[in-house]
Symmetry: C2
Subunit: 466 residues, 2 copies
């Protein structure tokens, strides 16, 4: 179906990116054969590490005329297999395009290359009193380009939205090799259809982003974090609803099921606080006014205690805060280590937040019914749950039941007015489930849009569509 | 090219919407022949006032199979001719679908039909302590459906963004008649390509929105407004930059050129305050903390006075506030009345906000050079300028120079990293200028997307693309 990267093609690619930046050695290719979905691996035939939009354009032109597949890649931190080169071919790595090009304090915009590590961008803009809110858990290892491809979310979404809410301009290379400039340092723009928002979240299937212009906010000056243990899921869920009803919108409103914290204990060999609690809420407030934040967190504390919280731990220094968040940030790693084969299946469903107290116990029931071990955590404030099906059962049961469990969980979420994936993307792992959240007419339109952008089908083939 | 609405077709349409809701009398059709662009008028052959998505679907199916054009219409408050039925055919009015269906305080979402007047939706959600920020100037006459079609902005965009930033779910009827449900009461969703954001701002060319789900915020409890006269454009522009550099983001940061206020004086026959000032800034701050807002507005006042403000008028009661905003809200109406033929040409350019002090005098130069009378006002905080070319010159000069002036203004904006239209849309009036802001590759993609959605070309033909 696709052309193989033979010697003449490899030589052409080397002439574009330089010998040093064309990898073909199997050992060098290995890290580029997977993302954070441990099970999914497929080696590329080569990796090209491009240094400019011009190099990206020449690579895509060549791919289009010769017919080999190109899988763009940021840092491979995705959770849906989006960067796995399932058809082999070329992985186009943007890791060398990693400069913050400009922080424009007057227009509150940052311009960056796609390979910038998101956490580095955070730090650079924060040094100037500015703030880029989206904060996926993989902050310190993922890239801005990957965040745009996946429309990454993170804990701060409840107050500040997700990646798409900050993208004002893009430079992108279309699959046939044209370099296009979209938008710019403008906060309003209705000049034709919104192709920027079509590229954001398109999982590297419509174009390769080579430059981004992101809107910034002034950095909030004050912050308080709370850790609140509850003796039941339902109680935690009711507290979340009540906080929102009180018209308080925290920056983060996370929940962690007991088993997720026990997994962290196991990883660190160190006891977590309130390990007997069935669920924890982790809540962040920010703003510029200390008195206001204090009033809000006291109100939240009262609400939580009224709804069965076992305690309310307050962190108003960076040290204590980091301790509270440490467990949350380690959950995925801990779960990956929990299972002997380090393998799990993660769903990323999203429901209207009011449905969470109903969804969580029903997910537990799916676990009981299938005999699989299911652990949930996620963004309670967004109704976004990371449901982890752990492979600590025998192979036969796992194989027989995992798809059933996944499908039941997706159907539960969709049945509650929710969606198949809130922030991880469809990628490779959810292709069969796209149709649960989006009807056939919309899928047909998406497929036609894909063909409009990429008639040769060379850009990240095999993703999104089953 | 298109089929005319003959008697059998009219009869079919009447059977869908009912006799009473199919208008064919020339007098009844007149109000549906134009939007707020006074010069552009074209009567439809009929108007159907649909009451449900089912009726909309049956109308579009009929249009597709019979080949007559359909122009969807909210309240006709647009400023780019988007609702003008240039090919005749049917105007599909959504004015009867005007219910707020649900205000969901727990999920902070409102569900509404497209024909709801935006100001009514504001009031209904605010009664429950909630807040829908987008506030186009035509708030009390435009509809939510129209706002979505145009991705409407408004003064609050600098802090709160525009319509697209609040749309979480849509029900839409595609041109061939399929009713699709997109998204829902979820704040995160990456289930396939973002077709919602493609429909928002597509100016009624890709689908007809029949239901909207909008994200809400808690209503800010405090607000202060400032009116600040300056003796020069440049001074006002520098003050704007300095406010942003001080890391203060107001809700609104508007500017009005002297001539725009003189036009309002003429309309009201009543003197405006500081009529001798070359430019006024109108600034709103909001939040929940009075002390913080007071500190911010005092800082803004200081900054303005340091940069040549003639005075700083503070409004902290609704009465005084309404007086400050009255002139701003009347500008368009006043300009329309200024010219004997009530005709003007409005550009809606947007630039990085730091470029405003450079753009405004250069727009004045275009006026001098062409001999046309140009008056600017708009959203300084967003770099979004409404440039009004008034027809108070003789017909010959107007005809000879208006397109030249428009093109020079667009080129100025684009040359500064800006865009052709910030919030009014391309519609009919800016079709020839789309290519100034968007390159040929992107226009080709947009055309293909239009064909994907509307292969028969029956939905709002003649718009966006020249």
């Amino acid at each position: 179906m696709f052309k193989k990267l033979d010697a003449p093609l490899l030589s052409k690619l080397a002439s574009i990116v330089g010998e040093d930046n064309l990898l073909t050695d199997p050992e060098a290719l290995e890290p580029y054969s997977h993302d954070e979905v441990a099970e999914l691996r497929h080696p590329p035939e080569a990796v090209a590490r491009a240094a400019s939009s011009d190099e990206v354009a020449r690579i895509l032109s060549l791919a289009q005329s010769e017919g080999f597949p190109v899988t763009p890649r940021g840092a491979g931190q995705g959770l849906s297999g989006g960067a796995v080169p399932v058809y082999g071919g070329l992985v186009l790595s943007l890791e060398r395009m990693n400069r913050v090009l400009e922080i424009d304090g007057e227009n509150l915009m940052v311009t960056a290359e796609p390979g910038v590590i998101t956490g580095n961008l955070h730090r650079e803009v924060e040094e100037q009193g500015l703030f880029y809110p989206p904060d996926p858990a993989s902050l310190d290892s993922c890239t801005i380009g990957g965040n745009i491809a996946e429309n990454a979310g993170g804990p701060r979404a409840i107050k500040y939205g997700v990646t798409k809410d900050y993208v004002c301009g893009l430079e992108a290379v279309l699959p046939a090799g044209q370099v296009v400039q979209m938008g710019g340092k403008v906060v309003k723009n209705v000049t034709g259809y919104n192709l920027i928002q079509l590229l954001v979240g398109s999982e590297g299937t419509l174009g390769v982003v080579t430059k981004v212009v992101l809107r910034l906010l002034p950095k909030p000056q004050e912050r308080v974090d709370l850790l609140v243990p509850f003796d039941s899921f339902e109680a935690a869920g009711r507290a979340v609803s009540e906080i929102i009803r009180a018209r308080i919108v925290p920056v983060a409103l996370e929940f962690m099921e007991r088993d997720s914290l026990l997994a962290v204990e196991k990883l660190r060999d160190k006891e977590v606080p309130f390990r007997e609690a069935a669920a924890h809420l982790l809540i962040t407030l920010d703003g510029n006014d200390k008195a206001r934040i204090d009033a809000d967190y006291e109100r939240i504390g009262e609400i939580c205690l009224e709804h069965g919280a076992l305690d309310v731990l307050v962190a108003d220094t960076p040290q204590v805060r980091d301790r509270l968040w440490e467990a949350r940030k380690l959950i995925i790693e801990a779960l990956q280590h929990l299972s002997p084969q380090h393998i799990m299946d993660t769903q990323d469903v999203v429901v209207p937040r009011s449905k969470l107290p109903e969804l969580l116990p029903r997910i537990k029931e799916v676990g009981k019914k299938t005999g699989l071990h299911i652990i949930s955590f996620g963004h309670a404030g967004d109704g976004n749950v990371h449901v982890n099906v752990i492979k600590d059962v025998d192979e036969e049961l796992w194989t027989a039941k995992r798809d059933q469990a996944a499908e039941e969980i997706y159907r539960l979420a969709v049945g509650m007015g929710g969606m198949v994936t809130g922030e991880h993307g469809i990628g490779l792992t959810r292709r069969e489930f796209l149709g649960l959240g989006v009807d056939a007419h919309q899928i047909a339109l998406m497929r036609r849009i894909k063909e409009d952008f990429d008639p040769a089908g060379i850009l990240n083939p095999g993703k999104i569509f089953a």
